[in-house]
Structure formats: structure tokens, C-alpha cells
Amino acid sequence: MDLFDIVFYCFALIAVGSAVVVVFSRNIMYAAFALLFAFFGIAGLYVLLQADFLAVTQILIYIGGILVLMLFGVMLTNRVVDVDIKTGTLQIVPAAILAAVVGGSLSGVFYSTWSTVSGTPSDVATTTPAIGEMLMTSYILPFEIASIILLVALIGAAMIARRKT
């Protein structure tokens, strides 16, 4: 186990551990803060995989933007801060069966393809220029359509937030 592996397991632990807290926490603020660490762990994994652009975007957009927005949303919404989220368990038997089946098959998937994964990624120079160029050439259509999706979401948000006339 070299340094790479140790760092990998550290970030993986941060990501998975915080994700568990997000799911099981009964306090919505704790869940939101745990989400911050989960995103951070993922950003660390991106850095390890030499996806520098993705890592920075992850921090800027998810931690800097979306999460802060979410915390504001939680704090500005009346009576949400102190209220326990309803975490009752319904339909426990079907849920357990479904979770076991899905979990089992996914473990099977990753176990059976584990051997085909090669070790550490090869060194690549910074990825940002290549991503920028591809977004403007071979991926221009998804890039533009994503902007339309955002416009639609913006209109929708404005419409829902608008006061009743």
C-alpha cells in the first residue's frame, strides 16, 4: 500500500462516512453539513484521478454554490431547522429485499470487473484546455442543450416562487 492508496482510502472514507451521516441524521442541518464533507471527499477523489477541472468545479459549484444555497433554504424556511425529519420505516420487508437484490448485483458487477481495472492512472497534463475545446467542438450540442435546461429551470423556479395574484 503506497501513498496513493492511503490518500485514496482517506478521501473515500470521508465521502462514504459523510454520506452515511446524510442519510441517517435526524437533524436536517447536520445532514446538510455532512453533505459538505461528502462533496469534499468526492472532490479529493477527482484530484487523485487527475481530473483537476472536475475537482475545482465540484468545490466551486457543489460546495460553494449549491450547498450554501441549500443551507440558506433550510434556514430561511420557517420551522424547518428544529423539526425532526420524518424517518419512520415503512414497508421494511420489501425494501430490505429490494436493497439486498440491488446491492448484491452491484457488488457482483464490481467484483467481476475489478480485475480489468488497471492500477494508477497515467500522468496527464492539465485537462482544462482540452475540456474547453471539446465543449466548443464535439460536445457543443450537449453544452447548448444544458443551457436550455438551465433556462427552463430558471423560468420554473421564478414561476413557482411568484406570489399568487
Binding site: 450537449p142 444544458a146 423560468i155 395574484t165
Partner: protein, 498 residues
């Protein structure tokens, strides 16, 4: 590269027109705040222009924008279908009492309708998993907003929220499936995916899980069991116009992307033309059997639950789930005949389902009710509406003299010719079950009297004209069906496949 992109634009005119229409509609809405009819006119003009450009693509074949999108006969067919239903739904919206209440701004409604159409049209041609995902997301996102457009109705917001949750979950599962597929094959392009799969050194089990996860997204779009849970609530809570649009166009787009995914990725591209028009599937999992099981579950559940419904929108929602099951029977065949049958059925489904929802809307405009019980004695109050609804329901059942019969005939013929006898039998039994709940509506209208005598229901000349436009194909294409059959058979050509 740039020259290539610029020349690709000439194949992108319909979509480009929709984008321009969408932006123009938003700007028009800012100027003509008080009269949404202007926005509707802009959108209608945009749809008409889009339709003209789509028809101009007839016979063209190309892969554009770095293999993101394709133009082929199959895509053109679905684009025509989606644009046609968008135009009809726009016309419906103009006379919907539910939408045109004082104080509601309808400008965004019309512009979002254009964005929804754009998403569906992109779904019809997408050949890259990234593009497929974005197109599905664009149409889902717009659908969520439009479902909740009548916010003051309590079930509208509830429907919208449920739609967001189910939609988010299934698109998450789909994205996960796509990511596994990408990890497995190293590509998102369906054609390259096919080449990698054809080499045969792919772990079958992983492929199965990734494929099933990816298809969850398509199953949700066409509301196949077990991804149908959102359908009844959303169809009931959304404005009827949106329900009608989702039940026809959204389903059509879902089928387009599903059939294209199956055929481009999982059919042996090197096998060439096979006798009888059946596709040679690549090694691995038995996809036809899986689709057959989903099809049986979908139509049986749709029809059985529809028996207990007493709200017309819910009844038609379950009926549309059942129809997704019938349409899946055509996919099971995995051949040219089956695909042609699906396309023929979709032409019939467009007119009969939009028609049924339109009549329900016209009745609800006057009576304010969608309850089947309130349809008692309707034949006396609104003879023409009752007659039209009966014809649409007969067509949905699949009985002559309506185009629904032609659709079912070709579906069952394709099944029998390919040896899926048991599936055809299940489909036949389901048709009989469906007759029961369609007849229930018919019986209420014609055979039962309303205790309290209410006045006649009058509809305007424009509404009657729209209704006639929907009724004529229902009858006409029963007696003279070669045009639609030929159109469908010419439209099964998918770019880059045998």
C-alpha cells in the same frame, strides 16, 4: 471541425426553430404581458415552421454534431408525431377553462410547451447516451413545471412534487446505468458501444445490470410497470392539456429513444439484412423476453386497475399505461414488422388519445367535473360530444370501424408472424378487459338518466372544428389505411443499422 459544425446546422433546422421560438416566446411574453394569445400565436407559428422543416428532412440521413444526433426516417416520423401533437395541444389550451382563469399568466405556459417539444424531438434523434440523458432531462424538467402550472388546485402541486421525486429517482438510476456502461465500454456513442459489444469480451452480468439500469429511464418515460407509479397522480393533477400531451408525445419520444437504443446498441450491425426482417441480436442477455415480461405486466396492471377508476383522467391514465404495454408487444418482436406496427399504432394512438382527453376537457369546461358518474345522461345534454367520446373510446379498445382496430391488427399480426403466440393471447385477453371500463363510460352517457335535469352543453364552433379534425382520421384511416401503413413502413429505417 468548425466547417463541419456549420454544415451540420442545415440538418438541425427544426430544433433550431424551436429554440428560437422558445426565446421569442419569452420575449413576447414580456412585451404582451396582458394577452397570452400573442405568445400562443408565436408558438403556433414556430411549431408550423418546425413542422415544415421536419417534412423537408424526409429522406435525409446524417449523423450530426460529433455523432450526437441523427437525422433518419425513424427520427423524422417521431418528430412529425410530436410536432403534430404539440400543435393540437396548443390549440386545446386556447379553449381550456382550467388554464384561462382570470389573473393567471399563460405566457410561460406556452413557451415551456415549446421547450418540452424541443426535449422530445431531441429524444427522437439522440444517438449518444449523454445526449439521450440531456434530452430526457429537458423534457422531464419542463413536464414537472407544466404539471404544477395550475398551482391553486391542490392536486396539481402534489402531482408536480411526486413527478419530481419519481423523475429524479429514475433519472438517477439511469445515469448510474450509463456510467457503468461507460466504464465497461469506454464510450457513450451508441454505434461505438455496439462495436465494443460485438467483440464479445464484455462481462455479460455487468452489461445486464447496466442495461437494465439505463432502461429504467426509458421505462419511466413510457410509464411501463414497475416505473408507472407517478402516472395516475400526475395525469390526474396536471392540466388536461398537459396530461394529453404527456400521454401521447412523451410516450412517443420514450419509445423512439428505447427502440433506437435497443436496435443501435444491441443488434448485430454486421449481420446484414435477415429474412423476414428480424434483427440479429448480439450475444448475451435475452432482451426480448425481458421486454415481453414488462409488456405483460404493464398492460395487465393498467387494465385491471383501470376497472376501479371513477375519475376520467385517472381512467385514461391507466388506459395509457395499458397502451404502453400493447406498444411494447411490438418492440418484443425485434424486427421490422414489429417496429412498423408500433409506428402504425402510434399514429392511431395520437388521434384517439388526444381526442378522448379533448372531449373530457370540453365537458369539464362546462360541468367542472371529470367524474365518470357525472357523465350520466350526457348523450341528451351533449349529443355530439358523447358520440365523439364513444368513437375515441371504441378506437382505444381497438374495435372497428376505427383506426385503433388497424393499429391492433398490425401489432397482433407482427406477434403471430414472429411466433409470440402466448403474448398475443395475453394481449387479446387484455383488450377484452379494457372493453369493460370503456363501456362503463359509454353506458353512463347513453343508458343511464341523470336524476336532476341539467341544461345542454354547448361548445363553440372552433372547438367543434378541432374535434372534427381529430375525428376524421379515426374513421378515415380505418377505411383507407394504406397511407399510414406505408408511411410507417418507410419510417422504420434507423441510421447505421441493417
Amino acid at each position: 471541425m468548425i466547417e463541419q459544425l456549420l454544415s451540420d446546422l442545415s440538418f438541425f433546422k427544426p430544433e433550431l426553430t424551436l429554440v428560437v421560438t422558445f426565446l421569442t416566446a419569452i420575449l413576447t411574453d414580456l412585451v404582451f404581458r396582458r394577452s397570452p394569445v400573442v405568445v400562443a400565436a408565436v408558438c403556433l407559428a414556430g411549431f408550423a415552421l418546425t413542422g415544415i422543416f421536419i417534412l423537408g428532412q424526409n429522406g435525409e440521413e446524417a449523423l450530426i454534431f460529433g455523432n450526437m444526433l441523427t437525422v433518419d426516417a425513424f427520427a423524422v416520423f417521431f418528430k412529425v408525431l410530436i410536432t403534430l401533437s404539440a400543435i393540437l395541444v396548443l390549440v386545446f389550451s386556447l379553449s381550456s377553462a382550467e388554464l384561462n382563469t382570470p389573473g393567471r399568466s399563460l405566457g410561460e405556459y406556452y413557451s415551456l410547451l415549446v421547450a418540452l417539444t424541443l426535449g422530445m424531438i431531441l429524444m427522437a434523434g439522440a444517438t449518444n447516451l449523454l445526449m439521450i440523458y440531456l434530452a430526457i432531462e429537458l423534457s422531464s424538467m419542463t413536464s414537472y413545471i407544466l404539471t404544477g402550472y395550475t398551482r391553486e388546485a391542490p392536486d396539481s402541486s402534489e402531482a408536480s412534487l411526486k413527478y419530481v421525486i419519481y423523475g429524479g429517482l429514475s433519472s438517477g438510476i439511469m445515469l448510474y446505468g450509463i456510467s457503468i456502461l461507460y466504464g465497461l465500454t469506454g464510450t457513450l456513442d451508441l454505434y461505438q458501444l455496439n462495436q465494443v459489444l460485438a467483440t464479445g469480451d464484455i462481462n455479460d452480468f455487468t452489461l445486464l445490470i447496466a442495461g437494465v439500469f439505463t432502461m429504467v429511464g426509458f421505462g419511466y418515460k413510457i410509464s411501463a410497470v414497475p416505473f408507472h407509479f407517478w402516472t395516475p397522480d400526475v395525469y390526474e393533477g396536471a392540466p388536461i392539456t398537459i396530461t394529453a400531451f404527456l400521454s401521447v408525445a412523451s410516450k412517443a419520444a420514450g419509445f423512439a429513444v428505447f427502440i433506437r437504443f435497443l436496435k443501435v446498441a444491441f443488434v448485430d450491425a454486421g449481420a446484414g439484412e435477415v429474412a423476414g426482417g428480424f434483427w440479429t441480436m448480439l450475444q448475451g442477455f435475452d432482451w426480448p423476453l425481458m421486454v415481453a415480461i414488462v409488456s405483460v405486466l404493464t398492460m395487465t396492471l393498467g387494465n385491471l386497475v383501470a376497472l376501479w377508476q371513477d375519475n376520467m383522467k385517472r381512467l385514461l391514465a391507466y388506459s395509457s399505461i395499458a397502451h404502453a404495454g400493447y406498444l411494447l408487444m411490438g418492440v418484443v418482436v425485434m424486427g421490422n414488422e414489429g417496429t412498423a406496427a408500433v409506428l402504425i399504432y402510434f399514429i392511431a394512438y395520437l388521434f384517439m388519445n388526444l381526442g378522448a382527453f379533448y372531449v373530457v376537457m370540453l365537458i369539464a369546461n362546462k360541468t367542472g367535473s371529470e367524474d365518470v358518474e357525472d357523465y350520466r345522461g350526457l348523450a341528451a345534454r351533449a349529443p355530439f360530444l358523447s358520440l365523439s367520446l364513444s368513437l375515441f373510446l371504441i378506437s382505444l379498445t381497438g374495435l372497428p370501424p376505427t383506426v385503433g382496430f388497424i393499429g391492433k391488427l398490425y401489432l397482433f399480426a407482427a406477434l403471430l408472424n414472429s411466433g409470440w403466440i402466448w403474448l398475443a393471447v395475453v394481449g387479446g385477453i387484455n383488450t377484452v378487459i379494457s372493453l369493460y371500463y370503456y363501456v362503463k363510460v359509454f353506458r353512463n352517457m347513453y343508458l343511464r338518466e341523470d336524476e336532476e335535469k341539467k341544461g345542454r352543453i354547448e361548445v363553440g364552433a372552433a372547438q367543434l372544428a378541432t374535434l372534427v379534425v381529430l375525428l376524421v382520421p379515426i374513421i378515415l384511416f380505418f377505411f383507407y389505411f394504406p397511407p399510414i401503413v406505408e408511411f410507417a413502413q418507410a419510417s422504420i429505417r434507423i441510421f447505421g443499422t441493417p
